[in-house]
Amino acid sequence: MTPSTLTRHMTAWAQATPMAAVFFFFFLVPLALVVMVSFWDYNDYEMIPTFSGRGYTETFEGCLTRLPEMCTMFKTYAKTLKLAALVWALTLLIGFTVAWFLAFHVRSKTWQIALSLVCTIPFWTSNVIRMIAWIPLLGRNGLINQGLLGLGLVDRPVEWLLFSEFSVVLALVHLFTFFMVIPIFNSMIRIDRSLIEAARDAGASGWQTLWHVVVPLSKPGIVIGSIFVLTIVMGDFVTVGVMGGQQIASAGKVVQTHLDALQFPVAAANAVILLGVTLIIIATLSKLVDVRKEL
């Protein structure tokens, strides 16, 4: 190795160090601590630093013995996955449509940028405020119920509008559609316009062009957006709590509940399980497309 390549190696390492340090101290170390604590023993009021699998065994208590009936843990995960799937499908549908409109129907670059910025306006306020804003609209005496009652369409206020799965999904879709729009839009603007013309020249209808050309070429964006949305929704507890009226269980909510009860080892065990499930989802999605190649 000549001195110059040695210097170059040193420079490369030096340049990578700050990011590596941040990654190490603020991600790897806390993660290792969580895994460690998840294997600690505990009693009602303190954790005991000796090795124990109680955090996990109590989480899955009765899950195997009571089959085919589902234990609380499985029910919670089923609910969480159902929410995630619903939110994913809706954000994908809406996000794809918005991105399609921005990329293919807005002709000028200036308007594309302007409208993309419009999409970010909701992010000027916090998540919690954006959620709470739904309450006067969806509540028992909210605008929608007043409207429906006023029009005589219903004779009692509709109950499922708020503090229900419906409101949770609505709020999550509202909050996270933008995370679908941007990666899909980014994939779409890279599609050569002459490909669309070539498809039209070959006799493809609008839907055929969409399905056979635009969707396959937007796949990287779709996968990246899906990873964003699924990981956020899988771990969410604030939205599920606020919009579900603290009545809906989700994987994130379980962790939060145990934390509130100062049951750190069980909370940590649940966090590790959630991380595992989420990683499996991401690994599956990453199989569909080589994300690294597209960045």
Binding site: D192, D201, H212
Partner: protein, 325 residues
């Protein structure tokens, strides 16, 4: 293969707001013609091609193919097919699926469309590459695939938008010959947009030289080259000297421009002398600064060489002078 058909443009115009890109052009292309739309960039040649293809709608005028007025038809219903400048191959589909794309859209079942696609790949000698993705092909190979893809619908006319411009010079000459061979074999018309006069002369039965949205001159390559109708044509086709005479401007081919020694009626200084093999290119400059070029055959030059700085006089046979407006 589909029946070859004649194409006629009648008063075809394209306006973008106040800008007139193509200005009421009339053009008849007989069936089975290799036609080159030639001109500098921005002359309206690509817009004309796109109006024939149906990717632009004519603001005015009619496009008639055979006996059908196709002015407002969908691109795929016209009997035309287009080969795009950058080939526009679908990057996510392999070569066979690219070629079979149009058949797929028409609902032809998989085995049948793949069989047909393989036949076309054989036509362009790309059979061994059938399973590759476009990104794994060279420029020339991509072009062959694009050609096969355009031909799969059995068009009556193939439209080519600067098909050779992305290739290196060596490949360009090779593919040029192949395009011509293919056109002869298929017997359909090719309409080929180019800004290279050499390419147009090598390929075309009919050269249509455009400028500023109008047709400046059309005809066989020989007639356009030998009888330029305007100074623009003479300059664009090259190989001509534009000389101002008492009767107005005339164009004289450089290789028919003779040089006489000593002072004469049209004196000029010998500026540069470049040996080019068969000919020697002699750059000349007259007293008023106008530059000329004379191509002297090597043997004639060797017999009596000129030297830089000497004074000569330009001469030509009267029959060689073509008045240009």
């Amino acid at each position: 293969m589909a029946e070859p058909a004649a194409l006629e443009l009648a008063g075809v115009t394209k306006r973008y707001g106040p800008v007139v890109a193509v200005d009421a052009i009339d053009l008849k292309i007989p069936a089975g013609t290799y036609c080159c739309l030639l001109g500098p960039s921005g002359c309206g040649k690509t817009t004309t091609l796109r109006m024939i293809a149906g990717h632009e709608t004519a603001s005015d005028g009619d496009v008639v193919l055979g006996t059908h007025n196709i002015t407002t038809l969908e691109p795929s219903r016209r009997g035309t097919a287009m080969m795009f400048q950058s080939y526009a191959l679908f990057p996510h589909l392999d070569v066979v699926d690219n070629v079979a794309f149009a058949l797929h859209m028409r609902g032809v079942e998989k085995a049948a469309r793949r069989k047909r696609a393989m036949e076309l790949l054989e036509l362009v000698a790309m059979t061994p590459y059938a399973e590759r993705l476009p990104s794994q092909l060279s420029g020339g190979q991509q072009q062959r695939v694009a050609l096969a893809r355009a031909l799969v619908t059995e068009p009556q006319i193939l439209l080519l938008d600067e098909p050779l411009s992305a290739l290196d010079p060596f490949l360009r000459v090779k593919m040029r010959a192949e395009l011509k061979r293919l056109q002869r074999e298929l017997g359909i018309s090719f309409i080929h947009v180019t800004h290279g006069q050499e390419e147009a002369m090598a390929l075309a039965d009919l050269v249509v030289l455009m400028n500023g949205g109008r047709i400046e001159q059309q005809g066989s390559p020989r007639s356009v080259f030998n009888e330029p109708a305007s100074e623009f044509v003479a300059r664009f086709m090259g190989g001509h000297n534009i000389v101002t005479t008492v009767a107005g401007k005339v164009a004289v081919r450089c290789d028919r421009t003779r040089l006489a020694r000593g002072d004469g009626p049209r004196p000029a200084f010998v500026g540069s002398i470049e040996y080019q093999g068969t000919h020697v290119h002699i750059g000349l400059r007259s007293a008023d600064g106008t530059e000329y070029l004379a191509l002297v055959p090597e043997r004639d030059f060797d017999r009596d060489p000129f030297t830089a700085g000497s004074v000569v006089s330009l001469e030509w046979d009267e029959t060689e002078a073509h008045p240009v407006a």
